[in-house]
């Protein structure tokens, strides 16, 4: 749905066959493989994928930090190869690491950023004051960046990315490394920014809930390719279906029920051998039917639950791996930022 909608409106990002291959120490890494992208004006897109999927590399090509190995991209109306300066003037970029200089004061850094984007002195000051206010940095405006908490640093990063009112904002893992409270706070700021300005936002994340909560459109990336692209709702609906979990008194009942309903037994032994999970579109309506059908066959259901699928179920269905497990191995912020490649 959003893909078609994208074609109707102005394109903010388009890419064809975007590819990046790294060669280091005799090894080749195909970080991004022939990626096609179309993001319309005003969209909020989440690029979801495990660590090493190629999310940052994609962002860095779109933001002119890395030259593509092959393929083309037009960002905010400018070609990333032919007019990188044009792209840079129009976009905001919040990278994976902390972008304030550690010995700089928060307000000074915002003023410097304004000058970098060619804003006049007066405009820079007004804009910095606005951002300090809206991103709740007032308390720390005269402190050095190194003294800030993770959440405060991240809000400064976003303020820095917004100083010139870009029409398109790239956010690379905005909430990685933050505690739950700071994450919720950050999300609120992103949603509010979107509501107030209509800025197009393209963010990467390996957090399922982040993609689910924030984005209208989710692109799932794995091993350098986009393997799904739709609304979170449609992805869950089409790929996974609802999850109906039935618990039985015995493993024998469970295996009989699994065979009958086309479900899967959760585990080989113990309590999980008595649990069957069935994937069914419209699980809330399927549940009473299953119970009736099993009762007719003389099998008693001890307990039953039904839940909506998560994006993790989607990822599992697409790749056979759980994103939740992969995210647990995610590198902390800072360490994950690779050197700028030649």
């Amino acid at each position: 749905m959003p893909r078609e909608a994208g074609l109707m409106t102005n394109q903010m990002i388009t890419a064809q066959g975007l590819t990046k291959t790294f060669r280091s120490k005799g090894q080749t890494v195909e970080a991004v493989r022939s990626l096609d992208l179309a993001v319309g004006e005003g969209e909020l897109v989440a690029f979801l994928g495990p660590n090493g999927a190629g999310k940052s590399t994609t962002l860095r090509m779109l933001t002119t930090l890395l030259p593509p190995t092959s393929g083309d991209a037009v960002v905010a109306g400018c070609d990333v190869r032919r007019d990188p300066a044009g792209v840079r003037r129009r976009i905001g970029y919040v990278g994976q690491g902390s972008s304030g200089g550690h010995t700089q004061r928060v307000r000074d850094e915002l003023h410097a950023q304004g000058a970098f984007y060619g804003l006049g002195r007066r405009e820079t000051r007004t804009r910095a004051a606005e951002l300090i206010e809206s991103l709740e940095l007032g308390q720390v405006a005269n402190r050095t960046v190194q003294s800030l908490s993770g959440g405060q640093k991240r809000r400064l990063d976003i303020a820095l990315g917004l100083i010139h009112r870009p029409e398109l904002l790239f956010l690379d893992e905005p909430s990685t490394g933050l505690d739950p409270h700071s994450r919720a706070n950050l999300w609120q700021h992103i949603v509010e920014l979107r509501r107030a300005t209509g800025t197009t936002i393209f963010l990467t994340t390996h957090y399922l809930d982040e993609a689910d909560r924030l984005a209208e459109r989710v692109m799932v990336m794995d091993h350098g390719s986009v393997i799904a692209d739709d609304t979170a709702w449609a992805l869950k609906e089409s790929l996974a279906g609802d999850r109906v979990t039935l618990t039985f008194e015995s493993a024998t009942d469970a295996s009989a029920a699994a065979a009958r309903l086309g479900g899967e037994i959760d585990g080989a032994d113990g309590a999980s051998a008595r649990v069957v999970t069935v994937t069914a579109p419209g699980g809330d309506r399927a549940l009473p039917r299953y119970i009736r059908e099993l009762a007719d066959a003389g099998i008693d259901v001890a307990a039953a639950t039904h839940r909506q699928p998560t994006l993790d179920d989607v990822f599992l269905a697409l790749t056979g791996r759980s994103l939740r497990d992969e995210a647990a191995h995610a590198a902390p912020i800072g360490e994950a930022s690779e050197p700028v490649a030649a």
């Binding site: 102005n10 550690h102 000058a115 804003l119 820095l160």
Partner: protein, 268 residues
């Protein structure tokens, strides 16, 4: 798939004007100077070592010269000034190294700044602490009998500043090529610093050293700087060493900036 984005050329970016090299350089220079403005005492950081040399080496040299305080200081203080320029600017790349490892440098690469400005603005910033530090050294030495020619000091500081821009640029170049390998930066830094210092004759005269040392000193730009500073601080503007020092500073500056700008261009 057509790409039309009229919003890109109007509207939200109306406040963004195209930027030129000079303005970009000024913006980078102002940013880099801010921590010093906010915390002026931070200039003392790289001044500690030269002052230690002055305080601990000075008395020994005076003793060796049979107690000739004024004569020894006249010879020794200009060398300490060059040491200030060397120590202050050699480690400046460490800041960039750190900013490359966080995300600060990356942010400046995404900003619409000229690549040359990113390097030149940083290198120009070296001038400010260097001039302050040089002045402090001279002020400290005067009560002990160091006689300074003020005009000579001014010209001497200009020459040091030109050298400092170049040497700072080289330090940034080293940082850009070491990327996330801190150890490599510090290894090269430590390996070069003391040989450059000793083979310039700033601490001990090289007149009695072996020939290979004299050859090494002849290709060390710092030797010429030390010679020039000794002449200038004594008010001897006619000494050919002054021209030699000025040329050494200009050559260092030119090489540093050219090499540094190339490294910065490659970084994006």
């Amino acid at each position: 798939m057509t790409t039309t984005a009229p919003a890109a050329s109007a509207g939200t970016t109306a406040g963004t004007r195209p930027t030129g090299f000079v303005r970009d350089t000024a913006a980078v220079f102002v940013r880099e100077s801010k921590p010093l403005v906010r915390d002026p005492f931070s200039v003392m950081f790289s001044l500690v070592q030269p002052l230690v040399f002055l305080g601990l080496f000075g008395p020994l040299l005076i003793g060796a010269a049979g107690g000739d305080v004024a004569g020894t200081l006249q010879w020794f203080v200009p060398g300490i000034l060059v040491m200030v320029a060397l120590f202050g600017t050699a480690s400046t790349g460490a800041n960039l190294l750190f900013e490359m490892q966080t995300g600060s440098h990356e942010r400046t690469l995404v900003a619409p700044l000229s690549r040359s400005a990113l390097l030149v603005g940083r290198a120009l910033k070296e001038v400010v602490p260097l001039v302050i530090q040089g002045t402090i050294v001279v002020v400290v030495a005067v009560p002990f009998g160091f006689a300074v020619d003020v005009a000579g000091l001014a010209v001497g500081l200009v020459i040091l500043a030109v050298f400092g821009i170049g040497f700072g640029a080289l330090s940034y170049t080293l940082a850009l090529s070491c990327r996330n390998r801190d150890w490599m930066f510090w290894m090269v830094h430590q390996t070069l610093l003391f040989p450059l210092m000793i083979l310039s004759g700033m601490l001990l005269p090289l007149d009695d050293g072996p020939d290979w040392m004299k050859v090494a000193a002849a290709v060390n730009p710092l030797s010429y700087l030390v010679g020039a500073e000794r002449a200038l601080l004594a008010g001897d503007f006619g000494d050919p060493a002054v021209v030699g020092g000025a040329i050494a500073a200009i050559v260092t500056c030119a090489i540093g900036v050219v090499v540094g700008v190339r490294a910065m261009r490659r970084a994006s």
